[in-house]
Symmetry: C2
Subunit: 132 residues, 2 copies
DNA sequence: TCAATTGCGTTATGCTATAACGTGTGCAAT
DNA sequence: ATTGCACACGTTATAGCATAACGCAATTGA
């Protein structure tokens, strides 16, 4: 799915995520958009829902946060499974793709006749810069 | 880490999880233990924290739920990374391990000098039985 | 024009998780 | 024996994450 026209709210939320250093929670996004007239969580969640659909934002399940896709302009859905390394110290996220991992996972899934809809790979730990 | 002696609360929570068909949320566990005297979420969360440490319970990040480890008696931490296929229709969870996936992920992590602490792999979709 | 769709704003609510306090118990060191 | 510590526990309160349900406005396409 490619992004059609973003609405004002979607653009605002996306902008906040793109300019952020790392992942943000929905409520943090809300706070950053109070000046633009945001008042309720739903305004954020609805925008996020679309941005996730468009493939320009990812949800980090293990930390209940959202991050802009690292591949601006492209549709991340076409890269296969997306994996994330999340630094628990500084919050930075590195996004990466590994086709061999995809292949193994999808092979297993196939052998079980399981129909995958959404796959999450998240590695929490400490990034190089933060390792003492 | 191997499980030492479980306390009463830990045993109760573990028992509920083992007898369950699929993953349960902390609050669902709480409800199931009201008759045994449970009154507050913390009683559940504290027990879960220990059970996770012991490696006899897994947390499913993408659905905020908990499930008993599929390898009774063993310490799941020794199996390498644990992956889950979660059926969004019936709720059943299949736990599996793939050393090649571990290897690729850990290889990438190593190349980034990233220190992994906890890795999550969860595939949400539809199981064979539920596929129409 | 009419109906369907989509986005939006608002209020209310529900679910998930932890902070902070105090109690009791077992155990080891003195 | 007493003191000090670690640990599990119980309780109350609160924080953080997410969605239900309502109604309105704008757009589109038959």
């Amino acid at each position: 799915m490619n992004a059609p026209q973003m609405t004002r709210n979607q653009a605002l939320v996306f902008d906040v995520l793109e300019k952020a250093e790392g992942p943000l929670s929905a409520y943090t996004i809300l706070d950053k958009l109070r000046d633009q007239g945001f008042r309720a969580p739903l305004q954020v969640y609805r925008a996020l829902e679309k941005l996730l659909e468009y493939g320009v934002v990812h949800r980090l399940e293990s930390i209940n946060s959202f991050v802009a896709c690292a591949h601006p302009g492209e549709d991340c859905h076409s890269h296969g499974i997306v994996a994330f390394a999340i630094c628990e110290s500084c919050g930075q996220v590195i996004e990466f793709h590994d086709h061999e991992v995809d292949h193994r996972l999808m092979g297993w899934v196939r052998s079980q006749k399981f129909k995958p809809a959404k796959t999450t790979i998240e590695i929490r730990g400490t990034c190089e810069a933060c390792a003492a």
